[in-house]
C-alpha cells in the first residue's frame, strides 16, 4: 500500500518536498491499512463467535427436536436405513397407547400434587422460620440456625435408608400411619420439603426490610402474627415467587426419593413413570419419545413466558448461599 502512494502519479505531481511528506503519507497509509485489517479481523472474530454460540445453542436444544419424529411414527420404521426423517405414515398411535394403556395421566396428576404441595409446604414453613430467625430474639437462636444450615447440603442418597425406615416406621403407627407411609402422598411430600435453603433465603430477605416498619406496626398494637401476615408477606412476594419456582422445578424433576417412596402405580410420578417405560431389554421407542415430548412441551411454554424468573430462581440456589 505504501508503495502505491509514492508511485501514484497524482500524488507525485502534487507532492510537497519528498523527505518530510513521504514518511508521513506512508505512515498514514500504513495506519489506515492496519485499521482496516484490524476491523476485518474483528469482523471475522465476531462472526466466528456467533457461529460458535449458535453451534452450542443447536446442541442445547437439538436433542428435544430429535424426539419429534420418533414420537409420531411406529418404532419399527425408525430402524430403516437410510433414515427417513419425515415419517411417511405419521401416526398418533403412540399417544393413544400412552393414554389408554399406561397411567400417564395418573403420573402427571401425581406430579402436580407432589410438586405443588411440596412447594406450598416449603414456602409456608420456610417463610415463618425465616421470619423468626430474622426478627425474633430468643435464646439459642444462632446455634439453632447454624445446626439447620449445616444440613443444607445433605444428599438425598446419604439419608435414603434412614428416611425410608422413618417413613416406614411411622406407617406402622395407628391413625397417623394411614396418612404417612411408603406409597402415600404425605410420605412422598414431607421428606421432600426439608431443605433449609428457603429458610436461609427468607431470613436474608426479611432482614433487609427496614426496622421502622415493625416499630410502626408494633406501636399500632399489631401482634407478631399480624405483622408477619399483613406487612412482611406482601413485601417479600418477589422472593416467594423465586423460591416457589426453584422448589417446584427441583421437586418435579426429582427422581431418587419418588423412586423408592412411591412404587405403587397409584402414587407414581412422571419421572419414575417415564423411566419405567424404558424397558430393561426391549424399549418401545415411539412411546418413550411421545411421553418425553408431551412432558417437556408444557414446561417449555411456561418457561418462555417467565424466563426471567426462572433464571433468577436457578441462580438463587447457587449464589444466595
Amino acid at each position: 500500500m505504501a508503495r502505491d502512494v509514492t508511485t501514484d502519479p497524482a500524488t507525485l505531481e502534487e507532492a510537497p518536498p519528498p523527505e518530510a511528506t513521504d514518511d508521513a503519507t506512508a505512515m498514514a497509509a500504513r495506519l489506515a491499512e492496519a485499521g482496516r485489517a484490524k476491523r476485518l479481523n474483528e469482523r471475522t472474530r465476531m462472526i466466528l463467535a456467533y457461529v460458535v454460540l449458535t453451534l452450542f445453542v443447536v446442541i442445547a436444544i437439538g436433542p428435544a427436536f430429535y424426539l419429534i419424529s420418533p414420537a409420531f411414527r411406529d418404532s419399527v420404521s425408525l430402524f430403516t436405513y437410510p433414515p427417513e426423517w419425515i415419517p411417511s405414515e405419521p401416526t398418533l398411535d403412540n399417544y393413544r397407547f400412552l393414554f389408554s394403556s399406561t397411567s400417564y395421566v395418573r403420573w402427571a396428576i401425581n406430579t402436580l400434587i407432589f410438586a405443588g404441595s411440596t412447594t406450598l409446604l416449603t414456602l409456608a414453613t420456610n417463610t415463618m422460620a425465616g421470619y423468626a430467625f430474622a426478627r425474633l430474639r430468643f435464646p439459642g437462636r444462632n446455634l439453632l440456625f447454624f445446626v439447620i444450615l449445616a444440613t443444607l447440603m445433605v444428599p438425598v442418597a446419604a439419608v435414603l435408608a434412614p428416611t425410608y425406615l422413618t417413613v416406614n416406621t411411622i406407617g406402622d403407627w395407628p391413625i397417623i400411619g394411614n396418612w404417612i407411609d411408603i406409597d402415600t402422598y404425605l410420605g412422598l411430600i414431607l421428606p421432600s420439603a426439608v431443605s433449609p435453603l428457603g429458610v436461609f433465603m427468607m431470613r436474608q430477605f426479611i432482614e433487609t426490610l427496614p426496622d421502622g416498619l415493625y416499630e410502626a406496626a408494633r406501636l399500632d398494637g399489631a401482634g407478631e402474627w399480624r405483622i408477619f401476615t399483613k406487612i412482611v408477606l406482601p413485601l417479600i412476594k418477589p422472593a416467594l415467587v423465586v423460591l416457589g419456582i426453584f422448589v417446584f422445578m427441583l421437586t418435579w424433576a426429582s427422581y431418587l426419593w419418588p423412586l423408592v417412596a412411591a412404587t405403587d402405580n397409584e402414587f407414581r410420578v412422571l419421572t419414575v413413570g417415564i423411566a419405567s417405560l424404558k424397558g430393561q431389554f426391549v424399549t418401545d421407542w415411539g412411546i418413550l419419545a411421545a411421553a418425553s415430548l408431551l412432558t417437556i412441551v408444557p414446561v417449555t411454554i411456561v418457561f418462555l413466558f417467565f424466563q426471567k424468573w426462572f433464571v433468577q430462581a436457578s441462580m438463587a440456589g447457587a449464589l444466595k448461599q
Binding site: L78, F138, S254
Partner: protein, 325 residues
C-alpha cells in the same frame, strides 16, 4: 433509644418514681418474658422444625447408628448389629471401589469440560452483547427438563441404529457405529457428555454474572497501559473470578458426586460396572435388599465427604466476603 428511655423532664409527672421490684418479682417477670419470647419463636419455628427434625435431622443421626447394622429394610430381613464390620468391608469391597473410582473420574472430566466451556462461552457473551439474551435462554433450556428426561433425549441421540451421532459417523467416517452405552469407556464418557450438556447453561450464566462484576475501568486502564487481551484475561479477569471459581468448584464437586439419575436410566451401572457410581451403588444395595450394611456405611461416607466440602465452600465464601469488605 435514649429518647424513649429517659423522657423529657417536663413530661415526668410529680408522683413518678422508679419502679421497684422485689427480687422474686423481678425473677418471675424475667422468666415470664423469656417464656413469651420462646413461645412466640416456637410458634413460627415449629412447622419447619417438625418436618426438618422428623424427616432430615433424626434420619441423619439414625443413619450413623445404622452404619453399624445389617438388614432391617424389609420384613423378612431383621436388623442385626454387626459393629465395625460394614466399615472394614467398605475399604475392601471391589464393587464400591469401582464405584468410587468411576465417580471420581466422572467428576474430574465433567467439571474440567463444563467449566472450560462455560468460561469460554460466558466471555463470548460478555463481549458480544448483541442477541445475548436469546443465547442465554437457549443455553438454559436443558435445565428445564428433569435429569431423567435429558438422559432419555440422549438415549435417542446415541442409539446404535438411528441415533444421529452414529448416522453422522457412518456417513462421514464410514464403518460401523459406536456403541456409546454398550462399551467401556464410552459409556462413562457418554454420561459425562449428557451431564455437561445439562449443566452448561447454568455455569455460563454463573460465570457471566461473575465476568460482569469485573469493573470496566480496570479493563480500560489496562488497555491504555498496553496490556494485550490474553494478559488482561490472566491479570484482571482470572484474579477477580478466582474466589468465585473455587466456590463453584466445591459446589460442582458436591453435586456431581451424587450422579445417579442418568446412570440409572441409561446404563444401570453397566457395562460391567463401567458406569457404577457411589449413589447408584447405595441405591442398588438398599433396594435389591442385598448386603444393606455396606450401603448404610457408604451412605455415611458420602455424607461426611459432602459435609466436609460444604464447610470448605462456606469458608471460601467467607474469605471472599472479607476481601470485599
Amino acid at each position: 433509644m435514649t429518647a424513649v428511655d429517659a423522657p423529657a423532664p417536663e413530661a415526668v409527672p410529680d408522683d413518678w418514681r422508679a419502679p421497684t421490684l422485689s427480687d422474686a418479682e423481678y425473677r418471675w417477670r424475667a422468666r415470664r418474658y423469656r417464656f413469651r419470647t420462646v413461645r412466640r419463636a416456637a410458634g413460627f419455628l415449629s412447622p419447619y422444625l417438625i418436618v426438618w427434625g422428623v424427616f432430615l435431622a433424626i434420619p441423619a443421626v439414625w443413619g450413623i447408628f445404622l452404619s453399624f447394622n445389617q438388614g432391617g429394610l424389609i420384613k423378612g430381613d431383621p436388623r442385626v448389629f454387626v459393629g465395625f464390620d460394614n466399615w472394614t468391608r467398605t475399604v475392601s469391597d471391589s464393587e464400591l471401589r469401582t464405584a468410587v473410582k468411576n465417580t471420581s473420574i466422572y467428576v474430574l472430566i465433567a467439571i474440567a469440560v463444563v467449566f472450560t466451556l462455560a468460561i469460554f462461552l460466558a466471555s463470548l457473551l460478555n463481549h458480544y452483547k448483541k442477541g445475548s439474551n436469546f443465547y442465554k435462554v437457549a443455553l438454559y433450556f436443558p435445565l428445564l427438563a428433569p435429569p431423567i428426561l435429558g438422559a432419555l433425549m440422549w438415549f435417542f441421540m446415541v442409539n446404535f441404529d438411528f441415533g444421529i451421532l452414529n448416522l453422522i459417523k457412518r456417513t462421514v467416517i464410514g464403518g460401523d457405529g459406536i456403541r456409546f452405552l454398550g462399551d467401556n469407556p464410552h459409556a462413562l464418557l457418554t454420561i459425562v457428555a449428557v451431564e455437561v450438556w445439562r449443566g452448561l447453561g447454568f455455569w455460563v450464566l454463573f460465570y457471566l454474572a461473575g465476568l460482569q462484576s469485573v469493573p470496566e475501568e480496570l479493563q480500560a486502564a489496562a488497555k491504555v497501559d498496553g496490556a494485550g487481551k490474553w494478559r488482561r484475561f490472566r491479570r484482571i479477569t482470572v484474579p477477580t473470578l478466582r474466589p468465585l471459581l473455587l466456590f463453584a468448584l466445591v459446589i460442582a464437586v458436591i453435586f456431581n458426586f451424587q450422579l445417579f439419575d442418568s446412570v440409572q436410566v441409561l446404563t444401570d451401572g453397566g457395562p460391567r460396572l463401567g458406569t457404577a457410581t457411589v449413589v447408584w451403588f447405595i441405591h442398588k444395595r438398599l433396594f435389591k435388599f442385598q448386603d444393606t450394611g455396606l450401603a448404610y456405611a457408604s451412605s455415611i461416607g458420602l455424607l461426611v465427604v459432602v459435609l466436609v466440602l460444604t464447610a470448605l465452600s462456606f469458608w471460601l465464601l467467607g474469605k471472599r466476603r472479607q476481601r470485599e469488605a
